[in-house]
């Protein structure tokens, strides 16, 4: 019909007659049973026209004096023209578009409250006071854009009756719902109402051409006199032909009946999905919606993506609703296929959520320290079942995708990364909350497979990837500062064995740039739960700060790999430096307010490790427990949302309330010697326990400190002050290669009970090319810490290390490995004169030229 008409006549002015308009008007008015129709182009235009009609009608029949109201309801969507958005309640449609047209509204002019959809009493309230002034009431029989909101039966009827009571035009927007979509010709027919004005659009042309129309009675329509309203394209012959053809299809193919039966079939199919994710399936005819329950930050959008992957395009509205409006001509088979796709996608969706049985927990440990400072230790952990190696589709719900992909891509089952600033003062603070407290950045990974070259490449890729993720200079970890320790990190048993590589950047500065991507990996980021407390200003303005992550894989009994991903952040904050006295609250300490628990967290707690006496907490903690022999108060954020814990300390007179906290073994390292060309390292290891302790000692030095392993001397001083030589049980020494690898010294030692052991060895300082010096060459080079690792033995005495106590409380692990990191040291290397290159080249070449000249003379001189 379109092409046929297009070849005949496309447009003529309304001022003239054509053979199409009249016929079409007759056809359409008869089709819908109205007296008159006014053809327009788009839905919004038709709505505008209806509003104008209503106002004009009010002017004529209700004696309104250009102050008549046209009211709508909350959540309406009729279009995006000025008049229509004056009525809208959706801020997206309105914000920034004002000022709006007065007296076109969905708000009660008296109370300012919105006129709710599906609440006839709201309409009644308005009409009661302003009935005389209201010209029209505009409503959608089913609110499409708002999420296929189907009103209660009787609501529309009641509205209609109210309109009649107050002599208000009942205007029905059937643009989306009309023409067979809902199983009746007009959706309003379900309520057996005949609105005063019906607006048609969309389907009126079958999607071929923009055609809309306003249908009404003669009385209403003739309120507008010729010349008072018009449209260039409205009712053009082409549109008329198309509209008539489309309606004929609807009639001839009995689409109304079809929509009704298929719609029922569709909803019935969808209702069979028994999933807690699906909140509601609703609709009429073939206008339907699925409402999903948002879980773990996933919305209808994610389900739509899954639908798309399976070949079904659908659009979400309002985060949780998916609108499904298939074409009326869809076949039953196609519809069944759609149902099938949706069922499968929902299954995928829930599988994705449950795939690794991912679970998330967040804990904050607050420990007031002996010297008045406070340790804040955050731990966020996610567990999941790792996808099998042959699985190509991966769903990441709580587990951060970045880490999952890095782990797969670089064959890494075990990964540890930490950024630390400020030294952990073991003598005052006791055991640190985590096992990596060396200043700078530390990366450790176990790379699967035994191919050395390949693992070298993977390691390089891994550090580069991490560098990108955490905005850190981890890409400077290369073969010159990577070691392969064999004794120190044996405790972290992983699902697979592989090459363990350990890289260290002692010079790395930690800053917000690193924290931001770290926070982004949390399921709730810093929007709820403990993440709210992560205020960089306070965390970085602390005496000790360590931020890190660890990924550990273990094999479960059924052969699956369980991955545990833990993010930790510790900070030692000094309340007195913040001007806080003996009484302060958590929110004052971090300058952020604690809110509700992260919804995705299965556990969300604040643990306060109490000194033996002298601390009052407010509000009352939810429960109490024990950690490393200390009383601990626990606040459960899930039962106590928006808690702010106030700490009040009694004045510190008796130091007995603060048990002395020393670690079993402590390690301190110094650099010895003077002058720029050589030096030495001296490490003191103290065993405070009553039994001997087996330790391993790892010291990795860069190649430009040329270590002489034969100068290694280990002496130990017993409690009575006598010195003896100590022989290591195992020694692994890898000499450095210039610009190739660091030297790494690894020793297994048994420290006698209550002893002090000194390790000494010497090195020569290398001379670097002038390009190899850093810009501040005379400051020196930071040298990473030595690491002492030992098994905590209950018999050895002393409290259980904090990180082990935490681990034990969570998983019941009994093994406890402690690592102590020594201080860094600064090695100043001899520097060349950086301004000399040209002079040196000139002078040296002069000497060479002199040599050449003389020898040439000697060889060619002939005395004879």
């Amino acid at each position: 019909a379109l092409t046929e008409q297009a070849s005949r006549l496309c447009l003529s002015s309304r001022a003239f007659y054509n053979d199409r308009l009249g016929a079409a008007e007759r056809f359409i008015t008869e089709f819908f049973g109205y007296e008159m129709m006014l053809p327009m182009n788009t839905g919004a235009e038709a709505v505008e026209t209806a509003i104008k009609l209503a106002r004009k009608w009010g002017h004529i029949h209700k004696g309104l004096n250009d102050d008549g109201y046209v009211i709508g309801v909350e959540g309406n969507f009729h279009g995006r023209t000025m008049g229509i958005i004056s009525m809208s309640t959706d801020p997206d449609c309105r914000n920034g578009f004002g000022p709006f047209i007065p007296n076109i509204t969905a708000v009660n002019p008296d109370t300012g409250s919105k006129i709710r959809y599906n609440h006839a009493e709201d309409l009644e309230a308005v009409l009661k006071t302003h009935g005389a002034k209201v010209a029209g009431f505009l409503v959608e029989p089913i609110q499409g854009e708002a999420g296929i909101k189907v009103p209660e039966p009787g609501y529309l009827k009641r509205c209609y009756e109210l309109c009649k009571q107050y002599n208000v035009l009942f205007i029905c927007d059937e643009i989306q719902t009309g023409i067979a979509r809902t199983g009746t010709l007009l959706a309003i027919e379900h309520e057996q109402i005949r609105p005063d004005i019906v607006i048609l659009g969309k389907a009126l042309s079958g999607g071929v051409y923009p055609v809309s129309a306003v249908l009404s009675s003669r009385e209403v329509m003739l309120s507008i006199k010729p010349g008072e309203h018009g449209s260039t394209y409205g009712g053009n012959p082409l549109a008329c032909a198309v509209a008539v053809a489309a309606l004929e299809v609807v009639r001839d193919e009995n689409l109304t009946e079809r929509a009704k039966t298929l719609g029922e079939r569709f909803r019935e199919g969808l209702r069979k999905i028994d999933s807690p994710l699906i909140k509601d399936v609703r609709g009429r005819g073939l206008l339907n919606a699925i409402e999903v329950n948002p879980v773990a930050g996933k919305t209808a959008w994610d389900l739509c993506l899954l639908l798309r992957d399976r070949g079904l395009l659908a659009k979400p509205t309002h985060d949780t609703i998916i609108r499904l409006a298939p074409p009326l001509t869809i076949t039953a088979e196609q519809l069944d296929e759609c149902i099938d796709i949706i069922i499968k996608a929902v299954a995928d969706y829930s599988h994705g959520l449950l795939a690794g049985a991912e679970s998330f927990a967040e804990d904050l440990l607050v420990k007031p320290l002996q010297d008045g400072r406070v340790l804040l230790h955050f731990e966020f952990s996610v567990q999941r079942t790792a996808p099998a190696a042959n699985e190509s589709l991966h769903h990441y719900e709580l587990f951060p995708r970045q880490i999952g992909e890095i782990s797969r891509r670089y064959n890494v089952d075990e990964l540890h990364l930490s950024f630390t600033q400020g030294g952990w003062r073991e003598s005052k603070w006791g055991y640190p909350p985590v096992n990596s407290q060396g200043i700078g950045a530390e990366v450790r990974a176990r790379i699967k497979g035994s191919n050395v070259v390949e693992s070298e490449r993977q390691w390089k890729g891994l550090t580069n990837a991490l560098s990108g993720v955490f905005c850190a200079s981890l890409n400077f970890i290369d073969k010159t500062n990577t070691a392969t320790p064999q004794l120190t990190f044996v405790d972290t048993d992983s699902a697979t064995s592989g090459v363990l590589r350990h890289g260290y950047l002692p010079r790395e500065n930690v800053c917000t740039e690193n924290l931001t991507p770290w926070i982004k990996q949390l399921p709730c980021q810093s929007k709820s739960g403990l993440g709210l407390l992560l205020n960089p200003y306070r965390l970085y303005n602390s005496d000790f700060h360590s931020m890190g992550l660890s990924l550990i894989s273990t094999k479960s009994a059924d052969g699956k790999t369980l991955q545990q991903y833990k993010q930790h952040l510790s900070a030692v904050v000094d309340p007195s430096a913040l001007g806080l006295g003996d009484r302060w609250s958590l929110s004052e300490l971090v300058d952020r307010q604690l809110g509700a628990a992260c919804p995705a967290a299965k556990r969300s707690t604040v643990h306060v490790i109490r000194p033996d006496s002298g601390l009052t907490l407010e509000p009352k903690p939810d429960s109490a427990t024990q950690l490393a022999g200390r009383n601990v108060s626990v606040f459960d954020l899930r039962s106590q949302p928006s808690v702010d814990i106030t700490f009040e300390f009694a004045p510190r007179k008796d130091s007995g309330a603060w048990p002395s906290e020393r670690t079993l073994v402590s390690a301190h390292r110094y650099v010895t010697g003077h002058g720029g060309s050589n030096g030495g390292v001296e490490t003191t290891l103290t065993n405070r326990g009553d039994v001997p302790v087996s330790i391993s000692y790892l010291d990795v030095l860069p190649w430009y400190l040329r270590v002489y392993s034969h100068t290694l001397v280990i002496q130990t001083q017993a409690a009575d002050g006598s010195w003896t030589l100590l022989r290591p049980t195992t020694t692994h020494f890898t000499p450095a290669i210039d610009r190739g690898r660091p030297s790494s010294l690894e020793l297994a030692l048994v420290l006698p009970a209550s002893s002090r052991t000194t390790l000494r060895y010497s090195f020569d300082k290398g001379f670097l090319k002038y390009t190899e010096h850093p810009p501040d060459a005379n400051r020196g080079f930071n040298i990473g810490p030595a690491i002492v690792s030992y098994q905590h033995n209950a018999a050895g005495g002393g409290e259980l290390p904090l990180h082990c106590a935490i681990e034990q409380a969570l998983t019941g692990a009994s093994e406890c490995t402690v690592r102590a990191y020594t201080e860094l040291f600064l090695a100043s290397l001899p520097t060349p004169d950086f301004s000399m290159p040209y002079n040196v080249i000139t002078f040296t070449c002069t000497i060479l030229a002199l040599f050449f000249g003389r020898i040439f003379n000697l060889l060619t001189r002939d005395f004879a």
Binding site: H674, G675, G676, S677, N678, W703, R706, Y708, S709, H710, T731, F733, T734, P735, A736, I737, D738, G740, S743, D764, G766, F767, L768, K769, Y770, T771, P830, T831, P832, D833, M836, P837, V840, I841, F843, T844, I847, L848, L850, F851, F852, R854, I855, N857, L858, L859, R861, F863, A864
Partner: protein, 450 residues
């Protein structure tokens, strides 16, 4: 002397001819015996001094001298050698690391010494020095025999007796310091002087073997094969009155075989790392630790793009003149060898004072050239300044931090310049003396250079 002459006169009265000859023979024997006694005294005194210092002041040796960059280089440092031995004892390949760059021959020797008390190591060093002195003395004697015919008319007898040569070597402070620092360069030196002695004595095969060992220990002495080959050819030339290309070629082939065999043997034991750690390490001057040579500061400061180019230029300058210099002094291959030792000492990649001490030790063999030297005052001063200033400037730069690298660099420039001056003064003197031998009438004239 006066008693002797009285006796001679008495004998001459009895039987003039035979008596005089007998008396001369007796006198000669007595002089030789006295000379031998003097040499022995020199050797014993020199060794005793060294041993006493080593035993009495072990701290001085291990903490001060052995870490002096002027004495110990990355390829001769005793501390690095001990580290290499330590690593090899603990089943780690010493060449798989950046520290050890010395020959496996030394590794084997010192693994044996490692199990013995330190005294034995000291004795080995002292003995090696004494052997070098002894060989130099023998060289002096051999040369004196050979050069009797080769004299400028009117020249009087040599005063540089073998014992004097040994004295000049053993009591040179640079030599003493090198031994006390236990620099392994002395083993290379022993091989060099042994090769020269064997060469001049006509023991060609031994000479080739010693040269190969010297080349194996410190690479550069390989150039000495040129004068050694000439020595072999000279002894044949005297018989056949012409140069034999075949002789030279044979010597070179034997040397190539010996050197190749040594390197391949150890490469088979230690893998390719051995090659990289020794030969490649020496040629590329990979360790930029300062020394008294030209390489270190140049390659600290040079732009990366030019590095390979200048490696080639520097090494070519040091090595390429072996053949032309040897040919120029083909009539006196020992002198050619001495010149090459001097060139190596000035231009090798890791030179030390020990290298200069060998050159200075060989100089007295050419005592006859002393009066032909034109710049002896200049070169002596330059060398003394260079040697004296280096420790001072090092102290200012490294220990006190009040000086910078340029100070030490300046001292090394002076030092190398002094060596070059001495070297070519010596070469010029040799040529001038040859001229005097062949044209005695020109003796009083000055030579004007074109």
């Amino acid at each position: 002397m006066s008693a002797d002459s009285e006796q001679n006169t008495a004998a001459a009265e009895q039987n003039p001819d035979t008596a005089i000859i007998a008396a001369l023979k007796r006198q000669l024997l007595r002089t030789e015996a006295a000379e031998r006694r003097r040499l022995l005294r020199v050797l014993i005194t020199g060794s005793a001094i060294r041993l006493i210092i080593l035993v009495a002041f072990p701290g001085l040796v291990s903490h001060y001298l052995s870490s002096r960059v002027e004495l110990s280089t990355p390829v001769t440092s005793y501390k690095r050698l001990v580290e290499g031995v330590h690593l090899s004892i603990h089943n780690t390949s010493p060449y798989d690391g950046g520290l050890f760059h010395q020959s496996p021959l030394l590794l084997i020797l010192f693994r044996l010494l490692h199990v013995l008390p330190d005294l034995f190591t000291n004795i080995v060093y002292v003995a090696v020095d004494a052997m070098i002195a002894l060989t130099l003395a023998k060289l002096a004697a051999a040369k004196a025999d050979k050069s009797k015919s080769n004299r400028v008319p009117g020249e009087i007898r040599f005063v540089c007796t073998p014992s004097a040569v040994a004295t000049m070597y053993l009591f040179n402070p640079l030599t003493v310091a090198t031994t006390l620092a236990k620099s392994t360069i002395v083993f290379s030196h022993l091989a060099i002087v042994s090769a020269l002695y064997a060469g001049i004595s006509g023991l060609t095969n031994q000479a080739i073997m010693f040269t190969a060992v010297a080349a194996h220990l410190s690479l550069y002495p390989a150039v000495l094969i040129a004068p050694i080959a000439l020595m072999a050819a000279v002894s044949r030339k005297q018989a056949q009155q012409r140069w034999l290309v075949g002789d030279i070629a044979l010597t070179l082939a034997k040397f190539a075989f010996a050197t190749g065999a040594l390197h391949l043997l150890f490469a088979a034991v230690f893998g390719t790392q051995y090659f990289m750690a020794t030969v490649d390490f020496t040629l590329r001057a990979a360790d930029l630790q300062p020394n008294v040579g030209l390489f270190w500061y140049f390659f600290i400061e040079i732009f990366d793009e030019f590095r390979p180019f200048f490696f080639v230029v520097f090494q070519l300058t040091a090595l390429a003149f072996a053949v032309p210099v040897s040919w120029r002094f083909r009539d006196d291959p020992l002198f050619a060898g001495t010149m090459l030792v001097g060139i190596i000492s000035a231009l090798k990649s890791y030179p030390s004072w020990g290298d200069l001490s060998l050159f200075l030790g060989l100089l007295p063999l050419f005592e006859e050239l002393a009066k032909y030297l034109q710049y002896s005052f200049l070169s002596a001063n330059l060398l003394m300044y260079g040697v004296g200033l280096a420790p001072v400037f090092w102290h200012l730069w490294i220990e006190l931090g009040t000086g910078n690298a340029n100070f030490f660099y300046a001292a090394t420039l002076v030092y190398v310049f002094g060596q070059i001056t001495l070297l070519f003064d010596l070469g010029g003197a040799k040529l001038r003396r040859e001229l005097d031998i062949h044209y005695p009438e020109t003796r009083t004239r000055t030579v004007i250079q074109e």
